[in-house]
């Protein structure tokens, strides 16, 4: 990895978690790994933020959880997205896109 690992942008962790578990159920450690790999090693999720974030999402009803066996037969808690979570993800994607575009506009603004 050439780029230094960085914490996830404030306020985006929940959206990123939703995205990760929207493809298939994943356990906490797996979510962290997936975020690191997919972001090309940019994001390193501190598990001190990860598990509280998972709890918040559970509480909002955007993800559900169940205990399952991993391939190695170890018990792990898997999180999956719920219908309302999918709706939420779609909304956040939209607003994120418009925000990014807006930020880009400002940055590209030439005086």
């Amino acid at each position: 990895m050439t780029k230094p690992a960085a914490p996830v942008l404030p306020g985006t962790l929940e959206m990123l978690i939703l995205k990760v578990v929207s493809t298939e159920p994943e356990h906490g450690w797996g979510i962290g790994q997936r975020l690191a790999v997919v972001s090309g090693g940019v994001f390193e999720v501190n598990q001190g933020s990860l598990y509280p974030a998972l709890q918040r999402l559970l509480r909002k009803g955007w993800i559900g959880s169940e205990w399952r066996r991993t391939e190695n037969g170890r018990r792990a808690r898997y999180y999956r997205i719920t219908t309302s979570g999918e709706r939420q993800l779609a909304q956040e994607r939209e607003s994120w896109a418009s925000q990014v575009a807006a930020v880009q506009l400002v940055l590209d603004w030439a005086t």
């Binding site: 933020s49 990860l50 170890r74 018990r75 792990a76 808690r77």
Partner: protein, 476 residues
């Protein structure tokens, strides 16, 4: 996941804390193992691998703590923090806190005291078996104690059908002179069925047998619990022993349970302590005019007190018509008086008025505290403005003040209930005439529940208006 799962997930911190904790521990342990595996795969020694994982997991403890803090937050809705803030604020102004809490304590204490009184006197059932089916045969003007003749008892038994059983008792005094100090105690001569009509079960021994009632001579006796404890040391061997009352020897056949009193004894300072058979000789010609008995009975299940009244009046009218008894001897104004009515009619009105009066005292206390709060919170405008500017919503501000006020009311309630208990105990100990059925003054769940309701009501009554006014600074 349905909304039900969502609700369950929300309630879990409240209902299943250990389960949640265990799951979190297992989840974090799993995480740790994965980290170790990765490190091993990268070629570290097992020891190194574990150390590196622990270093990376430095947040593990923190993570668990943060999650737990979240659970706590769900639980109290942030009230825990506000409670601490409220206590701190109140402690900063001890004078105000003391005055406000004492004011509320007086209001809550007085109301609770009267509640205890009303409950033990008016609401709690009378201590007899199915007390609502008991009736005393009474004259209409109940200010006078209605003694009736033994002849009337015997005739009612034959002429009426409203009663399962009719019995009678009469009170007198007796001097106990056998071993120990001579002592004068209240006694009652009771018909053989009188005690069983009331539904009392003897603590030791038995009640009277029908033949003992007929035998006449006072050869048997039953003791009250207090007399048994006081004079005979609570010795269970008393049953079968002989005692001497007014120079006459009787065999003790039973001891009654601690709280038993004859119905009319609730008006007396000292209850009846020794019971002997009435020995009404039904074969003899009894005089209508010799009135010395309280007659009472248990209604049949199908009868009402009104029907029983009609029944005894019809019997009386018939006797007069037949010329068995003169109208003067047998006035018609008899009623089958419900026991409850007989015992409580005189106290119900005053007690309810008292209840209303203390209710007003509590309201006045609330109003005073509300004024105190307004005055004091008025001086806190600046602080409120800062809190609001920092982003506290009006709702949150109101909540904060109500929490503060609830702490005050809680203090007041604790002090008040204490005052109520002490005051009532003193009142019971010093009143010359025993308040009807006001024996032990105890804190029980009903009293605590009542005080809790008062506390919540007081919090809202005294605090809501000031809190609302304070939170809407921009309106002012």
């Amino acid at each position: 996941m349905s909304w039900i799962d969502g609700v369950r997930e929300r309630l879990r911190p409240l209902l299943d804390r250990t389960g949640l904790q265990a799951e979190l521990d297992e989840e974090l342990a799993f995480h740790f193992e994965r980290e170790v595996e990765v490190n091993l795969a990268a070629g570290m020694s097992p020891r190194e691998a574990r150390r590196a994982a622990r270093a990376r997991m430095g947040g593990a403890v923190r993570s668990a703590e943060r999650v737990r803090a979240m659970w706590r937050g769900f639980e109290l809705g942030g009230a825990g923090q506000e409670l601490r803030v409220a206590v701190r604020r109140l402690r900063r102004r001890p004078g105000f806190t003391l005055v406000a809490a004492l004011t509320l304590a007086l209001g809550i204490g007085a109301t609770t005291a009267v509640f205890i009184l009303v409950r033990s006197v008016l609401i709690r059932p009378l201590p007899y078996h199915q007390p609502d089916r008991l009736a005393f045969i009474w004259r209409l003007d109940r200010d006078v104690e209605t003694w009736l003749s033994a002849r009337e008892l015997v005739e009612y038994r034959a002429a009426t059908e409203s009663f399962e059983e009719l019995g009678a008792y009469t009170d007198f005094e007796i001097s106990l002179t056998e071993d120990g100090e001579p002592e004068r105690v209240l006694a009652a001569a009771v018909t053989g069925n009188a005690l069983s009509i009331l539904g009392v079960r003897p603590l030791h021994g038995r009640l009277f047998r029908p033949e003992e009632d007929l035998q006449g001579a006072n050869t048997v006796a039953i003791l009250s619990y207090d007399l048994w404890q006081r004079r005979y040391g609570g010795d269970a061997g008393i049953v079968g022993r002989t005692i001497t009352g007014d120079g006459q020897r009787s065999t003790v056949v039973g001891v009654l349970p601690p709280d038993f009193r004859l119905p009319l004894d609730f008006r007396l300072e000292r209850p009846t302590e020794i019971f002997t058979p009435a020995a009404i000789d039904e074969s003899a010609t009894l005089a209508w005019g010799s009135r010395s008995w309280f007659i009472f009975g248990r209604l049949t299940p199908a009868t009402t007190h009104e029907a029983a009244t009609a029944d005894i009046r019809a019997a009386g009218a018939k006797w007069i018509e037949e010329g068995v008894v003169g109208e003067g001897q047998m006035d018609r104004g008899r009623v089958a008086m419900p026991l409850r009515e007989l015992l409580l009619a005189d106290v119900r009105g005053p007690l309810l008025i008292l209840m209303g009066a203390v209710g007003f005292i509590l309201l006045i206390a609330c109003a005073n505290v509300a004024h105190l709060l307004l005055a004091r919170w008025g001086s806190r405008r600046g602080e409120v403005a800062v809190t609001a500017a920092l982003g506290a919503s009006p709702l949150r501000l109101v909540r904060q003040y109500l929490v503060e006020n609830a702490v005050l009311a809680g203090l007041g309630a604790v002090l008040g209930v204490g005052l109520a208990i002490i005051g009532l105990r003193a009142a019971v100990a010093f009143t010359p005439v025993t308040l009807i059925r006001m024996r032990g003054v105890e804190l029980d769940s009903a009293v605590l529940a009542f005080a809790a309701i008062l506390t919540v009501g007081t919090t809202l009554a005294a605090g809501l208006v000031p809190a609302l006014r304070l939170s809407r600074l921009d309106d002012q």
